[in-house]
């Protein structure tokens, strides 16, 4: 029983890690722009197709990793440059629709010019290996995911805490005007945030592609939505909250899969979404946020 629980916890954290990476990226860009980036999943989609293209010419998995991450960063910054900067400071409504629209245009571009159906490519050979630690059977991929995520999150934390650009992002997320007053340039801070979000999504893409080995125009859709929900659960704009939200979401999802009868396995996402919607009846401001007095 205990062993099973630990195993589920590891599975849950493995899944939650991906969500946490995406949620943190979504939280970062939300912090500096007050925009929920529904196009965040497209970073995964673009990376997946680039990875697919490179496996076609026979590139090894280890070489793919930096390329995927670099692609994701470049795509993230590029989307900011061509699209999101036009709605800076616009209404919530315009920004939400902007990112929703970008999501569609990118996806439609793939359907029209690349491929409407999914393309599979080889996954690394060790992916399904397992190791046994004190009775707990652990998949290598889960260990890899957790290690990589922890390393990435620590790295991101170091960037946010130790570098002046990271401090500027945090400053701008808290109070954009004051950050500007202290000499922080808005272009710089917004693009840094998008680059960092791209990095995180790139790592998430690597982890996801290792598991699925498949590129499709809609590859990033569900991961994006999970990331957004995790950020929302953690309380929008709170970066630690986003990470915690992602991990919680992963653990809960794995628990649901193991508890629910097999017939509803395919509906787990749907059930999670409905549960989250119902959660807001009782915690309308997110799970982790305490009620803050509204200043008038």
């Amino acid at each position: 029983m205990m062993v099973e629980l630990i195993q589920q916890l590891i599975d849950g954290l493995g899944l939650g890690s991906e969500y946490a990476l995406l949620a943190l990226g979504i939280g970062l860009t939300f912090g500096v722009m007050r925009m929920i980036n529904f196009a965040h999943g497209e970073l995964i989609t673009v990376s997946a197709y680039v990875a697919y293209g490179l496996t076609l010419i026979g590139l090894d998995w280890w070489m793919l990793v930096p390329v995927i991450v670099a692609t994701s960063i470049a795509t993230s910054v590029a989307l900011e440059l061509v699209a999101f900067r036009w709605v800076r400071g616009a209404s919530d409504f315009a920004m939400l629709l902007m990112s929703f629209g970008v999501h569609f245009v990118v996806q439609a571009g793939f359907v029209m010019y690349v491929s409407a159906s999914a393309r599979a490519f080889d996954r690394p050979g060790w992916i399904n290996n397992t190791v046994s630690v004190g009775g707990v059977r652990v998949e290598v991929v889960d260990v890899a995911v957790i290690v990589v995520t922890v390393a990435t999150l620590l790295g991101t934390l170091a960037i946010l805490r130790r570098t002046v650009y990271g401090m500027a992002i945090r400053a701008a997320a808290e109070d954009f005007d004051t950050a500007q007053l202290l000499g922080v340039r808005s272009n710089l801070v917004i693009r840094s945030a998008f680059a960092l979000a791209g990095l995180l999504a790139g790592v998430a893409a690597v982890l996801l592609l290792m598991r699925t080995g498949r590129a499709a125009p809609s590859a990033g859709l569900i991961p994006m939505l999970k990331g957004v929900l995790a950020a929302l659960i953690g309380g929008l704009g709170r970066l630690q909250g986003a990470v915690v939200g992602g991990l919680v979401l992963g653990v809960v999802e794995v628990q649901l899969v193991s508890r629910l009868p097999d017939e509803v396995d395919g509906m787990v996402n749907g059930i999670v979404f409905v549960l989250i919607a119902l959660l807001f009846i009782f915690r309308p401001a997110g799970m982790l946020r305490t009620a803050a007095a509204e200043r008038v």
């Binding site: 002046v164 109070d175 005007d177 007053l181 202290l182 000499g183 340039r185």
Partner: protein
């Protein structure tokens, strides 16, 4: 010399400043006083570039700096200590200082921050504390120290003693005195008119978006109608 020529400021339908002209000679302390809503903060925000003025020109050392961004103004040597201090509460004391030094090189930035934390002892002692936990007086010192991170020639101060206890107010005025003695040019907005006029060389009085009086600070301090100017002249 920082000079303003018929500067107009407004947001949306609000006309906050109707055409203010003033000059701040280098090395001096200039006082800008007047009741709430007179347009003093709007004027300072227009100088630093948070809101571009709607009309008029702002010159700094002969260059037309109207509509410059805060970053350019900081580079040119003008800094603002904003109203309500605007401390970044999610950052530590030290991080507040470092962000404010973003325009200077990495090594110089750390050295300057270390210097300032030595000079402002309370800040040095609480360098790793989230700045949201600082007391009002400490937060004000941080706000001033933050402005000094860009090594400014002119510091614009918007109500530095706002909301502070009397003892803290005195400390803030001592700090202003030290800055002035060190040769920093100051343009100060403050409610505590008597104290401010004591240390200023020149003063301007604003009311309802206009500069209604100006002159040597000592003379203005003697004027009987000063109190009336603050509180409305018997309509």
């Amino acid at each position: 010399m920082l000079t303003l020529d018929r500067v107009e400021v407004g947001y949306g339908s609000v006309r906050a400043v109707h055409g203010a002209s003033m000059s701040v000679p280098e090395g001096e302390t200039v006082a800008l006083i007047g009741p709430n809503g007179a347009g003093k903060s709007s004027l300072l925000n227009a100088i630093i570039g948070l809101h571009a003025p709607r009309g008029g020109t702002i010159r700094w050392r002969g260059t037309d700096v109207t509509g410059w961004s805060p970053q350019r103004m900081l580079r040119a040597g003008v800094a603002l200590v904003p109203e309500h201090r605007r401390i970044l509460t999610g950052l530590t004391t030290e991080e507040n200082l470092l962000v404010a030094g973003i325009l200077t090189g990495g090594r110089a930035r750390r050295r300057l921050a270390a210097e300032l934390m030595e000079r402002f002892e309370v800040l040095g002692r609480q360098r790793s504390v989230p700045a949201g936990l600082l007391s009002g007086g400490e937060a004000q010192q941080l706000a001033v120290a933050r402005a000094l991170m860009s090594r400014p020639s002119v510091v614009l101060m918007d109500e530095p003693a706002l909301g502070l206890a009397p003892l803290m107010r005195s400390q803030v005025f001592e700090l202003l005195g030290e800055l002035a003695a060190a040769g920093t040019t100051l343009l100060v907005v403050e409610q505590d008119a008597h104290r401010l006029l004591e240390m200023a060389s020149t003063a301007y009085i604003m009311r309802s978006g206009d500069i209604v009086a100006s002159g040597p600070a000592g003379e203005l301090a003697e004027r009987e109608d000063l109190f009336e100017a603050f509180l409305g002249n018997g309509t």
